[in-house]
Amino acid sequence: MVVSAVLLAVALAAARPAGTARAECLFPTAPTTYEDLKDRQLFLNTIDLAAANMLFPGDPYFGVPNLELGPRGSRQTQPGKVPPTLLKSIGWIESSITQAAAEIPFGSIGPALVSFDCGHGIAQVTTGMTVALGDGGRASPEQALVATHFAYNIARGAAILADKWNQAPELRPLAGTDTNGVPELLENWYYAVWSYNGFTGPGANRSNHPMDPVYGSWPRAQYSCGSGGDGKGHNRGNYPYQELVFGCAANPPVVDGKPLWQGVPLSLPDLNNKAWREPLKLANFVFPYLNMDIPTPQPFHLDPSPAPDPKLRDKVLGKPQLNVSRSEIKLGVSPGSGSTVETVNIDNAGTGVLAWYAVATEPWLIVKPYAGAAVGLELPCARDVSCDRTGKLEISVDATKAPPGRRTAAIRIQVLGTNQSYVISVEVSQVIRIGVPGITRH
C-alpha cells in the first residue's frame, strides 16, 4: 500500500501546478507593492492612524464610518474609530502584517500578497476584491489601491471592521448588552471580529462558531502569537477566527525580541455561563440572529494604545511625485504575428508609495501591468535585497483587435489618491514583413 502510494506521489508531483491553486482575482498578475522592514514599524504606525480614522477621514471607501452603539431600538452614533490593538492583531492573523507576497523579503518591493480566496495585502481584504469593478474588466482605482498601497489596504481593513460592527443589530447580534454596546470595550468587538472573517457557523465552509466540532480538541488552550514556549496554542487550525484575533491581541508576536504591541488579555464569552452559552446555541444561529445578543465578556478591557501623532500621516503617505520616462512611443503591429513591445518606466521623484494606474484610450492597446507601485527613496530597503523602486509598464497592441492602418492613441497614467496624471502618446503603424528573417519595414 505504501509503495503504491509513493508511486502515486511521484505522479502527483508531476501533475501539480506550482504553488497553491488560487482563483483568478482582480489582476492577471499581482501588482507590485512595498514591503516594510521586519520590525513593521511603518505598517504599525499606519494601523494606529487608520484605527483612529486619521488617514482618509470622510472617504467613503477608505474612511472609518461612524459607529453605532446602544441597545436595539435606540441606536446612536459616534465618530468612527476601531481599536488599534484589534486591527494589529487582525493584520497579524491575516498576513503577519505583510503587504507583499510571502516570497518577497522584508524591506523590498514585489508582487502584492493575494491569497487563494482573493484576500489582498495586510488586511487580506476580500470584500470587494473578487470581482473587477473598473472599466473593461479591470480593477477599479480603489481596488488597485488596496493591492498596491499598504496604507489604503490597512484603511480599507479598518473600514470593513467598522462596517462589521455597524451590521449589528440589523444583520448581526450585539455584544455588550450590559455596557450599552460601547466600542471602547474591546470585548464588545467579539461579533465584529468574528464577522471580519465571516459570520459563519456549522454548515458554512469557514465556520467560526466557538463550539464547532471542526476545531479538533476541547477544551483548548488560549491562542498566542507569541513565542512557542509560552504554553499556549499556536496551531491556527484549532481556533475560530475571533479566538485567533483575541488570543493574538493578548499574546502579541515577538519580532527580534520585542513584542509588536502591548498585549491586552481579552476575555472570550464564558461558555460555561448561561449568559453567553444560551445566545450561542445552534438554534439561535438564524438570521438576523435576534437571540444571539450577549453581555460584554468579563473582565472587559480598554485599548491601551496611545493616540497616534498626527504628523505620522505625512510620513506614512509621503508626497509622491510622478516621473514617467517617455512621453511618446511608437509601436508596430503585424496583423498576423503581433506587435512590438515598448517599456515605460514610472518613478516616484517624491516620497512614500506612488500607486499608479494606467488607462489606455483604445481597447486594443495592451498595458501590462496596468497598476503598480513606485517607491520613494526615503522608504528603506533592506540590505542585500533587490529593491527596484521603479514601476515598469509594457505597452503593446492586440493585433487581433487593432484596426488596420496608422493609428494614434494615448495612455493616461494616474497617481491614485492624488490629482497627478500623465499622458503618453502612442503611435501605431502597420509592420510589413518582407520575408527575410529579422528585417521589418515600418
Binding site: M1, A9, T20, S95, D117, P213, G216, A221, R236, G237
Partner: protein, 408 residues
Amino acid sequence: MATRARRPVLSYPRAVAVPRTQSVSRPFRFLGVTGVFFVLVGISLFAYSALDRNSGPGAAAFTAREHVVYAQFGLASDIIYATAAADSSDRQKLLEIPHAREFGIVPSMSPDGRAFVYTVLPPETVAPAPDSPADLWLASLDGAGPALIGRGFDLRVRPVWAPDATRVVARRSGVVLAPGPAPAALGPGSAFSTTDGPYELVLVRLATGAVSPLVSSEDALFPVGFTPDGLAFYYTSISLDGSDLNRLDLASGASVLAAHLSDDISRDWALSPDGGRLAFVTLAQYGARTSSSVHVRDIATGETVTSVLPADEFGPSWSPAGDLTYGRLTGSRSTTAVVVAGGAIAGPARGFDVPLAWSGSGASIAVRTFDGLSVSAPGRATLSVLTPGGARRAIASGEVTFIGWTYR
C-alpha cells in the same frame, strides 16, 4: 516514574436511559426519575471521595511494546515522535512534516498502528487559512517517507480509517469539479476551485488515491467511523436542527438517519468497538451553568445514557473491551478524574485529564493533561499516559497532537 494510588473498584455511573423519541439535548426532562438521579449523584460522590484518598504507588505497569505516536507542533513543521509508554526517555524521531506556517497537521492513525494519514496545508500556501485546500498524505511508521495521496481536502477534519486499513473517509468542502482533465490518479473531483460548495465525504483508496464520493450535503458533515465489518459507515450532520447520526451503506450508497443526537452542536463522537454505541459530547445546562456532557447512544435501541452531574466531561473514548472512558472536571482538582469502567483514575495533582485513546492491549490510555482548573482557562497541556491502576507518565509537553498507538 510518578505513580498514583490504585483506585478502589467503583461502579461506572450508569445514567438515565433516554427514550428513542427524545433528544438528548433535553436530558433534564428525565430528571423526574429522582431515584436514579440520586443514585447517580451518590455513586459519583463516592467516586470523588475515593479519589481524594491517594495513598501509595500505582500498581499497573505500562506495556513495553506500546508506543505513543505524536506530532510536536512547530511553526513551519511538525516533528513526529514515537515514545515508549513504559519509558518516556525512549523517544524516537520518526519524521518531520513541513506545513504552512502555523497550521499543523491533522493526523489519524491506522487501526493496526502501522501508518497514519494526515491532512496538511502545503508550506507554499499563500496566506493560509483554515479553509485553504489541504493535501492528504500517508505516512508509514516503517521508515518509508510519506506519500501524497490527494489534494483539496478539509484540513481540520480528521480522516477516519476503514477496518482493513486500505481506505479512509475524508471531507472536502467548497469543492467543485474544475473543467478539463484532472490527474487520473486522483479520480473525479480532484481538481478544485474556491467556489463555495457543499460538504462532501469521500472514500479515498490509499493505494491508488482514487476518490469516491460518499455523501454530499449543505449541512456540516463529519466522519465518525466504520462498522466493524467495514460495510457501513457512520457520519454526523450538523444543521440548525441540531446533530444527527447517519448510517451509510457502502454497497448501495444509501444513507439513513440513525439517531438524532442533539438539538444543538455535538462533538467528539466515538463509536464503540462493536459499532453498537456512540459516545459524544454536548453542552448541557445546569441552572445558570453550562457544562460539556458525555452521552452514550445505543444505536440499535435508540436509548441514550447521559450524565446528570453538573460537571464538565470530555474526551469519550472506548477501551478495546468496549468500556467507556471520559474525563470529568467539577471545578476543583479534588474532583477531577478519568472515569473508566468500574471506577476512575485519579486526576493530576493540578488540573484535569482529557482522554484520547486506549492502547491496543488496554494497558494504558493516552490523555491530554491540562494544568488549569477550568474549561475556560485550561492552562498548559501535557501528553500523558495512564494505567487503569493509576500509574501516570508524562510523554511530551508543549503543543502536541496525539496521533495514536503503535507497537514495536
